[in-house]
Symmetry: C2
Subunit: 460 residues, 2 copies
């Protein structure tokens, strides 16, 4: 039963399990105590910090362990914003950061600060010069992920870090998706990561803060982890996190090459096997194990359920799989199709045979969902073409508005228009994305009594 959602959480690495079990007996006591159980715990903690600092590429005293990657991001951002509050309270971040970065930005805004979102191109990458333009005299901090968690695109961290360093603004790099594959190069100032993404246990995040960065921990603090992460240290989990990071690094190069080949196979095969698919993310500058594609006329939740029934665990950035009814902010920022979105992220040791089975199963699953939703195989030519048509999809959710559009586009002559009325948030993204994929013209959006009117001109 292949699990293809490593970007969400990786199964525990055998080395992590071993280290965890071994340190349950040695690492449960308070490392601040003077007796032997405490000294043993402190030794384990020191050794784990040494291993992790080496993997990160920082000094021992620059690295603290937090209770999660999310906590590392929250604490890292809050600490710099406070430490540099005399400079100002402006934050720069890319439009495709992890939600924990956006939650920190929202908290900043609620407290009277402001932030600038740097846009991305259609592959999900930022342009370093856009960071240069976004930096202001009152910018306290800039944030950029090392690689995107939804589409796998690697960000130009080295260039962006250089620009930030020149401007005297610290750059926080969220390396949650990439740290297992290798250290983050460049002149970054802070780095965050999460152990369960590389096969370590849950409950451990990393926060590295380079010497010289003005940093004032926020909220109540205590004497643990240099005053940067309050609360009793979870030493067995920390030991397991560090040991597994070293282990995955040792096999990273070979495993990356292997998984990259498997992902390339998916990238090539899916558009051949499934009609009306858009593979998203940078085809070259990307994480080795992750590929994302979107399928027209499919709702994400149903396709996930069907794939799950067929034994495959994947995730989706479609609005139809989320309780908020808004599609992934990453896909939205990229301007790509959000409906029928599927993210495949292969854990270490995924086999060629498992990927082969996935490619066997996928076309049938998508075809079945499309059939159930009444999606058109090809636009039906009409006997009496009308110059323009209005389709009422009010109250219908993704992917129905796009399906309704596709059904009637053949009923207007080339040059004619179809107007889709929709109050579904995803339509705003998916109707233009459909036009790009089908080489039709997206004329624009007009206000309507309810929802919006999306106008499309038939070009072929």
């Amino acid at each position: 039963m292949p699990y293809f959602d490593a970007a969400s959480s990786a199964p525990l690495h055998p080395v992590a399990r071993q280290a965890l079990q071994a340190s349950l007996d040695e690492g449960w006591a308070d490392p601040a105590r003077l007796y032997r159980e405490g000294r043993r715990a402190a030794l384990l903690l020191d050794a784990a910090r040494e291993t992790a600092a080496e993997a990160v590429g920082c000094r021992l005293d620059e690295l603290v362990f937090t209770s999660s990657g999310t906590r590392a991001v929250h604490s890292g951002i809050a600490g710099v914003l406070s430490g540099r509050r005399r400079v100002g309270s402006h934050l720069v971040l890319s439009a495709v950061e992890h939600s924990s970065v956006f939650h920190s930005a929202a908290a900043l805004e609620a407290a009277g600060g402001s932030f600038t979102e740097v846009p991305v191109d259609r592959t999900g990458a930022v342009d370093p010069s856009a960071y240069d333009r976004a930096l202001r005299p009152d910018t306290a901090l800039a944030c950029l992920q090392s690689a995107n968690h939804e589409v796998g695109t690697e960000q130009p961290v080295v260039e962006t870090a250089g620009i930030c360093a020149e401007a005297g603004v610290p750059l926080l790099v969220d390396a949650a998706q990439s740290l297992g594959w290798g250290p983050v190069p460049g002149r970054w100032s802070l780095l965050t990561a999460s152990a369960h993404k590389w096969g370590g246990p849950a409950g451990v995040g990393l926060l590295a803060v380079r010497k010289g960065v003005r940093f004032a921990p926020q909220g109540p603090v205590d004497e643990r982890e240099s005053g940067r992460a309050a609360g009793f240290e979870n030493i067995p989990a920390i030991v397991a996190a560090a040991a597994s990071l070293r282990a995955v690094r040792a096999e990273a190069e070979a495993e990356a090459e292997r998984l990259r080949a498997l992902v390339n196979r998916i990238r090539t095969a899916v558009p051949e096997l499934v009609p009306d698919v858009e593979v998203v993310g940078d085809p070259v500058r990307r994480l080795p194990h992750l590929v994302t594609f979107s399928c027209l006329y499919v709702d994400g939740e149903t396709v996930l359920h069907e794939l799950d029934r067929a034994g495959f665990s994947v995730s989706s950035g479609s609005s139809c799989t989320s309780s908020t009814l808004t599609p992934s902010h990453v896909l939205k920022a990229m301007g790509v199709l959000t409906e029928g979105n599927i993210r495949v992220s292969l854990p270490a040791r995924t086999t060629e045979e498992e990927v082969g089975r996935f490619l066997d199963v996928l076309p049938g699953v998508v075809a079945e969902v499309r059939e159930r939703l009444g999606a058109p195989a090809a636009p039906a030519p009409s006997a009496e073409p009308r110059a323009s048509l209005v389709v009422d999809a009010l109250g219908r959710r993704c992917p129905i508005p796009v399906i309704e559009l596709a059904k009637v586009i053949g009923e207007v002559p080339v040059g004619g228009t179809v107007t889709v009325l929709s109050d579904d948030e995803a339509a705003r993204l998916d109707i233009p994305a459909w036009c790009t994929m089908r080489e039709q013209e997206y004329v624009g959006e007009e206000p309507a009594d309810r929802g919006s009117a999306y106008v499309v001109r038939r070009l072929l």
Copy 2:
């Protein structure tokens, strides 16, 4: 090698280990995901919440898991202070709370709020009516531990919760030391606890917030744990925490009776075996497994080292064992001797034989430390008594000032005075405590060029 510091951290309970290992295979995925690994993780999380809520005595939707007991305290206090900020920003807490509560109070003060410390008596207990007096119209929250972590005294939670409920002020009960022994009765509004104190793993705290309490989580939040504890849930540890809580509860009554008898034995034997000892904390209303005593003319760090060499792991609230050079705020608030302080807290399954060995070893260790420090066995009578004497103990640390006092008290006649010059923070507590123990009169403290002058009158 007996470990007698369960109040700091308990060794992992066998049930916790078993549950942790079992759920490493089942609980590593994201419980918010739709595929089978996610659903399995969600089921484990739900079941753990049910078990923990039953043990706490609250509703399922009132309980969230945090990354530590400290985090539960910080988040609980911050959430109520924000939720009730229209009422005011005044906090009431006892003078003997855990440091995490004091750190929250300090953060409140830094943000412009204020707090009132409710004093304790010589046993460490608060008087509920003092809470009544401390509550103000602008009091947003009151905090009271269920039992003290350093001396074991149980607090009058039921009465205090009643008073707070009448006044319409929520009471947060820090139950870190007692939850393994039983639920906290009374009309409390919030409750916090820490799994590694009852033999669960590190990395899990509990925060219960009763329905109806105005609560606004602070800092960046996400959708996890009802928006009250951001970051990926550590499900294997949560499962282990809940399973071990149920297990320790099942054996709590019998184990409490057994450990209470062992603690009674220590309480009785230590003053008989070791001269000049004060056993502190309430002799009856107390945790079953914890006893604390202080030995005159002994420094805490040396005695801890010697006990460690003899195979016993205990802790101390003496200033001489802490890097801050200030004695425990708990002992200070109680007004008891802080020098030579030893806390013994027995983990489950401690044997009578282990306690017996401790009582065999202790007198020799204390005597040796005293001899090394030149402590007087009895005040040496002087040939030529002088009406008053000044002892210069400037620059000398605890327990030297008290030792110097004890050495010369016999050199003044009954009615005469000894003035001790000291710049050690502990002297302010320990000289009056010595007077109480030796039935001498503590006249008072006077300012001096350096440090303070402590005046003692010989009565016998």
